[in-house]
Symmetry: C2
Subunit: 229 residues, 2 copies
């Protein structure tokens, strides 16, 4: 019989990413993954120490799909472009958000990504102080995650009776949801434009940061310490 291809950490992680893309991350178990690779469950443990390390590897693979920053762009445009790139990558691996958000510590790969992001701000002339707070404020958005909860209930049209009940219980939610559909070419609801909402939120933050930078913003801590600008 033909000898099976040797297992490697790379092959294990890649198979896990594919499986998560296909079936969702909740269905990725060491046992199912082993079956997928035509191997007994315990064989995987020679290549990843445990399931947590497997998940780390999966996230790292996703982060490595994000293109490196573009050179010679003004900082705001460089950050914007890169985050929108990251968003496209994350849309291909929707499970990655939840996995990253459940991790306590960043992997070296994630740290490297953050490092390259910080580099853009610093190269653009932002102070270390401002850059620090901006990185916190952007948070997981630098990886291209929207910060939204719930995968948008829009799109599913409730029946009329249900709709009336909703409108009575949550008048403001319904009013705001209907407000968007006033686009003349759209029937009642293609739902929200996720790309627009993402860019709106991102630009809101980046424009605000630019304004702080231009005004020479410094945190009160830095001001109290009398650090040089």
């Amino acid at each position: 019989m033909p000898q099976r291809e040797r297992l490697t950490r790379e092959r294990v992680v890649r198979a896990a990413v594919d499986m998560a893309d296909r079936d969702g991350v909740d269905d990725v178990s060491m046992r199912r993954l082993a079956a997928d690779l035509d191997v007994v469950p315990m064989a995987l443990y020679k290549h990843v120490a445990n399931k947590a390390e497997l998940l780390d590897g999966m996230v790292d693979q996703v982060i490595n799909e994000i293109a490196p920053p573009q050179e010679h762009l003004p900082w705001k445009q460089a950050v914007r472009t890169r985050i929108l790139d990251a968003r496209q990558v994350l849309l291909r691996h929707p499970w990655a958000r939840r996995v990253m958000e459940s991790k306590a510590a960043p992997t070296p790969t994630a740290l490297g990504y953050m490092d390259s992001m910080i580099a853009i701000f610093v190269a653009g002339g932002l102070s270390l102080d401002l850059t620090h707070h901006v990185m916190h404020a952007l948070g997981s958005r630098i990886f291209g995650f929207s910060q939204e909860l719930f995968t948008e209930s829009a799109g599913v049209q409730p029946d009329p009776a249900m709709a009336a009940q909703l409108a009575q219980a949550f008048p403001n939610v319904v009013a705001v949801a209907q407000g968007v559909e006033h686009d003349p070419d759209s029937v009642i609801g293609p739902g929200c434009d996720d790309q627009f909402e993402f860019e709106f939120a991102l630009d809101l933050q980046l424009d605000a940061v630019e304004r702080l930078h231009e005004n020479g913003w410094r945190s009160s801590v830095a001001r109290a310490a009398g650090t040089a600008p």
Copy 2:
């Protein structure tokens, strides 16, 4: 022997919340919860349909701990105060973030909270259009979640050899992390001030929204449709 107190949905959910607060949400299983309540696992299924419904109930209980909005405040202050309130509640139940973020649809309780939040913006005179986009932009922040990844590696001091290696591999991360510690009274690192970072990010967004509102901002969709202001 004394008859045990009758099980109710309320009692089941409350015990689950307490257990999650104590041991973390990953350790809340139907079986452990049953043992905690001195009952056989299957007894729980008379009060919650399944584990997903239990988690819904737990999140609802947390949301209900958030105080209702304060009346007679300008919209920005009302929103700010309420979100900071929500943050305090969420700090008591740190597991709630991950549970909410893994849910596809909001419970009626979550919808009610969102509805009351939208009401503040609308009462403050913001257009439905702007309010809609702002709700998306704030995202899970309205529930008091910070959007940060990783529970802040600061606080743990790496040994000198490790520190040197870190500084070489991630110079920008290290520079920015050290930038904050220039507070004269602080030794090398009490870590970041989470409350400050949260308020910084929140104010960055709320101030930006206020500016859009004052400038009569309207989305291009609304402009194209020629909707009345």
